[in-house]
Symmetry: C3
């Protein structure tokens, strides 16, 4: 048993999926896993359909950025062949037929397995994302917390 | 002597090139290197000119995805200034004049040096890529195998 | 106290920013940090306004590549919602209002903290970037130097 960390910087459906597959795989092998979500990766932690979004307290620019971000993990775009969401839908169809979990299912599994998910508070400020918009059961911290976890881990990836 | 792993997720010519330069450099210093190719990174392992592609056994969606993927490592696009392949051609011209190896040459060197190359079977299913389409001398496995290798390595990168 | 390395491959404003935030955070915790700038990441080390660019000694293709690259760290594009620089300007405005440092400020802090910054000489050749175009106080080396540093580090990231 050892520790692993993943920084999820990317908000692409395929990269987020890869991060969760690695994280869930490690947790299944009894590793302690910490995922640190920063910048576009924060989109993966958004509540479906933007529930709880208190847009009133955001500045205009923050409202604009958070408004442009995908509203839920299943709305993330794939990094190639997305074609306005069509490519993503088709990829998800193939995944289903091959019994590959969707990102939402991977997130649920990660939470069941006790993977520690941390939202980067500095990125939340820059992109205008509030705690109310993110899913329950996650933690909030900055780079020092990430570095503390990484120091104790034997595998650290930046996705 | 130590071990290193690289996950090659990206299918960009420049990123794949960087991964192989690091891998070959480490192997030249007597490190044991494992490269795990997943998602778009699988394109780098394709046989030139799509030889052996048994498109008949693929579903329509898989055929579509694998059909859109580059047909050989030298057909990968660069992540910037690609301009429909023109940028890539020009970058390769400069590389040649500076005695920098192409991705095909880097792959050949990696195989000569005994670098272990693993194709991610789950990604192959999603993208509709069959073993017959990939180069010889590689292995096939999933995330558990990757994690086993990473646990024994002192440098693990996600490219 | 331990060692950390970061490969800065990306030339996106947001990714470069993330790399420096991690690097500066680690240095603040007394870690020894090495940043290895390669490919598009080299843009982050360019002198403002292209001072010192000796374009005469470059080949036509090198001139073209280096001519297309951003002329200073603050001219890097963000990886999403850049809109020809408008998105970047707006992100920087929010950052300022949230007391988040710009990339130029992060670089200055990195230099004050004694972070070792290495420019990849092979990438400089391919992209046609000369030492005169890059900021002072950095080192020049290749992949073997990076691997030596990574071997001594407990956290190694590819950004």
């Amino acid at each position: 048993m050892s520790k692993k960390t993943l920084i999820v910087f990317s908000g692409d459906y395929d990269r987020v999926m890869a991060a969760f597959i690695i994280a869930n795989g490690a947790a299944a092998m009894d590793d302690e896993v910490t995922m640190f979500f920063t910048f576009w990766g924060l989109s993966a932690l958004r509540k479906t359909d933007g529930a709880g979004a208190p847009s009133a307290v955001k500045s205009g620019l923050q409202k604009m950025f958070s408004g442009m971000l995908p509203k839920s993990p299943e709305k993330l775009n794939i990094s190639r062949f997305n074609f306005g969401g069509l490519g993503r839908s088709m990829m998800k169809k193939v995944m289903k037929s091959q019994n590959v979990m969707s990102v939402s299912e991977l997130i649920a599994t990660a939470q069941e397995q006790g993977i520690k998910m941390i939202a980067c508070t500095m990125s939340m400020d820059v992109l205008g994302i509030s705690k109310e918009e993110l899913i329950d059961g996650i933690e909030y911290a900055g780079v020092a917390t990430y570095l503390g976890e990484a120091d104790e881990s034997n595998v650290n990836l930046f996705v």
